[in-house]
C-alpha cells in the first residue's frame, strides 16, 4: 500500500503473562485522522507505545511510511509523539528541552526557530521558556510536549490523550492543527476518551477492547455496523465494548444509595 502512513499487522504486546494487545491489525493512510478508542486498560497506550518505538512487541509487524519500526532511528524521525503521561526532563527549561530534542532530530536553527516562535506564541508558552519544566503546571507541561512533537513537522502525529490538562484555547488550537495536518496529507493517530472530540475530529475510528480491535471504520460506518443510525459515538462505543448492557442497572444502584 503506497500511501499508508502506518501499517500494523498481527501486533501482540504482553507484559509477562498479561496480554495487553492481542494480534491486532490496522492501517492508517496519509490524510487520515485515526481515533483509537477503548475503555481503560484496553491496550490503546500499549499499541501507541509500540508505534513510536518506546515498547517492544511480542510479535507482529509495524511499518511507518514503509519503514519497519525495527529501523528505529529512521522510523522515529518521521513521528511526532505526545505521551499520555507527560514526564519530560523536569530539571531542564523548555528552551533547554527543545534544544536537546532539536539536536537529536538534527534540526537546523534557521528551520526550527521560526516554527518554535510560531508554536510558542500559539500555545502561550513563551513566558515559560526559561522556567524549569518541574515548575510548570500540568497543562503547560502538556504544551511543551506538544510543541516538541510538532517542531520537526513530522509526517505522522501520534497523540495519546493530548487534550488532557489543556485549556479551552490551546485545546481548540491543537484540534485545528490536527485537522490542518491531515489536510496537508499528514497522518494522525489519536487516542482519547472524549467521544465528542473523536466524533468531530476523526476520519476513521478503531475501537479496541481487551486488546483486540472490535470495530473499525468511519463514525457513519460504525453506526451502520451496530444498527444505530441516531446513536452518538459514545453509544456505539458502549455497545461494541459490551459496556452498555449492565450500565443502567449500575447507575440505578448508585442512585438508590
Amino acid at each position: 500500500m503506497e500511501n499508508s502512513a502506518v501499517r500494523v499487522e498481527g501486533l501482540t504486546v504482553s507484559y509477562g503473562p498479561f496480554v495487553a494487545v492481542d494480534d491486532i491489525s490496522f492501517t492508517v493512510r496519509n490524510g487520515e485522522i485515526y481515533g483509537l478508542l477503548g475503555p481503560n486498560g484496553a491496550g490503546k497506550t500499549s499499541t501507541i507505545k509500540v508505534l513510536v518505538g518506546v515498547l517492544d512487541p511480542r510479535s507482529g509487524k509495524v511499518e511507518i511510511f514503509n519503514t519497519p519500526i525495527t529501523d528505529e532511528a529512521a522510523a522515529k524521525s518521521q513521528i511526532g509523539y505526545v505521551p499520555e503521561e507527560v514526564v519530560l526532563l523536569d530539571s531542564l527549561t523548555p528552551r533547554e528541552f527543545f534544544e536537546f530534542v532539536a539536536s537529536i532530530r538534527k534540526l537546523e536553527p534557521s528551520v526550527v526557530n521560526p516554527r518554535l516562535e510560531r508554536f510558542s506564541s500559539a500555545f502561550e508558552l513563551k513566558q515559560y521558556f526559561d522556567t524549569p519544566i518541574a515548575a510548570l503546571s500540568m497543562g503547560n507541561k502538556q504544551k511543551v510536549a506538544i510543541v516538541a512533537a510538532l517542531m520537526h513537522e513530522p509526517k505522522l502525529l501520534v497523540l495519546d490523550e493530548p487534550l488532557v490538562g489543556l485549556d479551552a484555547r490551546s485545546s481548540k488550537i491543537l484540534k485545528e492543527l490536527i485537522t490542518f495536518h491531515a489536510k496537508k496529507g499528514g497522518a494522525v493517530i489519536f487516542s482519547t476518551h472524549i467521544m465528542e472530540v473523536a466524533e468531530k475530529l476523526c476520519t476513521k475510528v478503531g475501537i479496541i477492547n481487551k486488546g483486540k480491535i472490535v470495530r473499525e471504520g468511519t463514525v457513519d460506518e460504525l453506526r451502520r455496523l451496530v444498527k444505530s443510525a441516531e446513536g452518538s459515538l459514545e453509544d456505539i462505543f458502549l455497545k461494541v465494548t459490551e459496556q452498555e448492557a449492565g450500565m443502567q442497572d449500575v447507575i440505578r444502584a448508585l442512585e438508590e444509595e
Partner: protein, 542 residues
C-alpha cells in the same frame, strides 16, 4: 498516632520510595514487565537491591572504620592518647562523608518519589503525615546509622577502649550522623530550589550552578580527603601535637577533633593539660548544641521536603524563543551537563575525579622518583574513579525515558557522547596532575606518557560499561535508578570496565620484565587494540 503505627505506615511509604528510586517511574521510566507475578518480583528485587546497597555502605563503614584504628594495633606507637584522638576524629570524618555522600544520592529520589502524595488524601493529621515521612527518611539510613555506632564500639573496645570512652563515642557518632543528614538535606534542598526555581539559559549560568553545587558538597570532599589520608592524619596529629601544645589547644576547638580528644581522655584518663581538657569539653558541648539545633532543622525540613514544600519559582524575563541545536552527541553532552548542574548527586560524581586527582597530586608531590610502578599506581587510582561516571551518566537517560526513547537517538550516538564526557574528565585529571608536577618540580614524563596512552584503554573501558548498560537497560527504558539504590548493579558493571583498564598495565609490567625496551610499545599496542575493538563494537550498535 502511636509511634508503632507511624513506624508501620512509614514502612509502606518506604517500600514505595525504594520501588520508585529503582525504577524511576515518576521520572518517566517504564516498567520492564507487567503482570501480577512480575510486579511482585520487581517489588522484591527493588527491596533486595536497596538492602544490598545499604549493606555495601555498611561494609564501607566497617572497612574504613577499622583502617583508621590500625595505627593503634602497633604496640610501639606513641603517644597512644594522641593516636586514638586522631583515629576517632578520622572515623567521625569517615562517617560524615559516607552518610552524607549516600544521602546525596538517596535524598533526591526521596524527594522525587513524592512520598507524601500517597499519604495526603488519607484521613491523617498534618503532624502524623510529617512523622511518617520523617520515619520513612530514617528507614533509608537505618543500617548505616546503626552500623557506624556498632562498628566503632567493636573496634574501639578491641583496641582497649573504656566504658566512658564508649559512651562519649556514641554521643559523638550520633552528633556526626546528624551533621551528615543536615549536609545531605541541605544539598537536596538546594537541588530542589535550583530545579524548581532556577532557570538560566546561558553556559555561564550552568557553570555557576556547578560552582554552587561544588560548595554545597565541599564538606563531604574534605571528609573524603581525611579518609584518603587517614593514616597520615593520625600520625601527623601524634607527631605534631606532641611538641606543640598550642596547636592542640587550637585543634580541640575544631570538629571532629574536640570529640576525638574527649574520647581519648576518657579512654586513658590521663590529663595532659587541664586547659586543653576544658577547651575540649566546652567545644564538645557547643557541638552537641549545634547537633541538637541541626536535628530540629533536619526533622522540620525532611517533613517539608516530603510535602514538596520547598518550591521557589522565579520567572525570568523571556526575550526570545531562539534555540541553538547541536549535532546529536553534543546535544546529549550539553543536556547531561545541564541536568548535572542542577543535581548534586550527578554533579558530585563529575567532581569526584577532580578531587581524586587533587588527592593523588598531593601524594605524588611527596614522591621524589616517579617510576613505572608509581605512575601505574596513580593512573589506576584515577581510572577507578573515572569508571564510576558512565553508569551515572547513563542513569540520566532514565529521566523521562518514556518520552526521550521516542526520539530517533541511536545507541552508538549515546555511547559516544557519554564516552567522550567520561574520557574528557579523565584527561582533565591528567592535566591537573601535570600542573601539580610542574609546580612541585617533579619529572612527570612517566605519568604523562602512560596517562596519555592509557586514555585509549579508559575510553575502551567506558565504551564496554556503556555497551553492557545500554544492552541491559535500553528496552527497559533506562530505569537505572540512582547509584545508591542500584549499587550492586554498578559494581557488576564496574568489574569488566576495570579489567579493561588493568590489562594494558599488566601487559606493560610483564613486558618490562621480559623485554624492557618494549614495555611502552606493548602498553600502547594493548590500549589501542582495546580501543579499536570497542569502537568496532559500538559502531555496530544501532
Amino acid at each position: 498516632m502511636k509511634f508503632s503505627e507511624a513506624w508501620r505506615l512509614s514502612g509502606k511509604v518506604y517500600k514505595e520510595v525504594t520501588f520508585q528510586s529503582i525504577f524511576s517511574l515518576r521520572a518517566g521510566s517504564g516498567l520492564p514487565q507487567r503482570g501480577k507475578m512480575d510486579i511482585k518480583q520487581l517489588v522484591n528485587s527493588a527491596r533486595t537491591s536497596t538492602l544490598i546497597s545499604k549493606l555495601i555502605t555498611t561494609v564501607f563503614i566497617g572497612v574504613f572504620g577499622s583502617t583508621v584504628f590500625l595505627p593503634l594495633t602497633v604496640a610501639s606507637v606513641s603517644p597512644r592518647e594522641l593516636t586514638i584522638m586522631g583515629s576517632v576524629s578520622a572515623f567521625l570524618a569517615v562517617v560524615l562523608f559516607l552518610i552524607a555522600f549516600m544521602g546525596l544520592q538517596v535524598s533526591t529520589s526521596f524527594v522525587s518519589s513524592k512520598a507524601i502524595d500517597v499519604l495526603n488524601p488519607l484521613p491523617l493529621s498534618k503532624r502524623d503525615i510529617s512523622n511518617i515521612v520523617f520515619l520513612c527518611f530514617i528507614r533509608i539510613f537505618d543500617l548505616p546509622l546503626t552500623a557506624a555506632v556498632g562498628v566503632f564500639l567493636v573496634v574501639y573496645f578491641l583496641v582497649g577502649g573504656s566504658v566512658l570512652g564508649g559512651l562519649i563515642s556514641i554521643v559523638a557518632i550520633v552528633a556526626t550522623e546528624i551533621f551528615a543528614l543536615t549536609l545531605t538535606i541541605n544539598s537536596a534542598k538546594f537541588f530542589y530550589s535550583r530545579v524548581r526555581g532556577g532557570g538560566g539559559k546561558s553556559a555561564w549560568q550552568t557553570f555557576l550552578r556547578f560552582v554552587f553545587t561544588f560548595f554545597w558538597i565541599l564538606p563531604t570532599f574534605i571528609a573524603y580527603l581525611l579518609i584518603s589520608f587517614s593514616g597520615e592524619v593520625v600520625q601527623a596529629f601524634a607527631s605534631l601535637t606532641q611538641n606543640f601544645v598550642s596547636i592542640l589547644q587550637f585543634l580541640v576547638l575544631i570538629y571532629p577533633f574536640s570529640f576525638g580528644f574527649l574520647v581519648s581522655y576518657a579512654t586513658y584518663l590521663r590529663v595532659v593539660d587541664y586547659s586543653i581538657l576544658g577547651l575540649s569539653v566546652a567545644s564538645t558541648i557547643l557541638y552537641l548544641a549545634v547537633a541538637y539545633y541541626c536535628l530540629r532543622w533536619v526533622t522540620r525540613t525532611v517533613r517539608n521536603l516530603g510535602a514538596g514544600a520547598i518550591v521557589k519559582v522565579s520567572k525570568e524575563l523571556v526575550k526570545d524563543t531562539i534555540i541553538r541545536p547541536q549535532i546529536p552527541w553534543l546535544g546529549i553532552i550539553r543536556k547531561d551537563l545541564r541536568v548535572a548542574s542542577r543535581a548534586p548527586s550527578y554533579a558530585s560524581l563529575f567532581l569526584l575525579p577532580a578531587m581524586q586527582t587533587v588527592i593523588l597530586a598531593i601524594s605524588f608531590s611527596s614522591i621524589t622518583d616517579v617510576g613505572l610502578s608509581a605512575a601505574l599506581g596513580i593512573l589506576t587510582g584515577i581510572s577507578m574513579i573515572t569508571l564510576l561516571l558512565p553508569p551515572t551518566l547513563l542513569s540520566i537517560e532514565g529521566l523521562a525515558s518514556a518520552y526521550t526513547r521516542s526520539l530517533p537517538m541511536k545507541k552508538r550516538t549515546l555511547i559516544s557522547a557519554k564516552t567522550l564526557l567520561s574520557t574528557v574528565t579523565y584527561v582533565i585529571s591528567l592535566v591537573v596532575l601535570s600542573i601539580v608536577a610542574v609546580y612541585a618540580g617533579r619529572d612527570f614524563s612517566f605519568v604523562l606518557t602512560f596517562g596519555t596512552i592509557h586514555t585509549f584503554a579508559i575510553a575502551a573501558a567506558v565504551m564496554l560499561e556503556l555497551t553492557i548498560l545500554t544492552d541491559k537497560f535500553w528496552k527497559e527504558g533506562f530505569a537505572v535508578g540512582n547509584i545508591y539504590s542500584r549499587l550492586s548493579t554498578y559494581v557488576l558493571i564496574f568489574i569488566p570496565g576495570f579489567a579493561v583498564v588493568l590489562v594494558p598495565m599488566i601487559v606493560a609490567v610483564v613486558t618490562f620484565f621480559l623485554a624492557k625496551q618494549l614495555y611502552l610499545t606493548a602498553f600502547l599496542a594493548t590500549a589501542l587494540a582495546e580501543f579499536t575493538l570497542m569502537t568496532a563494537v559500538v559502531v555496530r550498535e544501532k
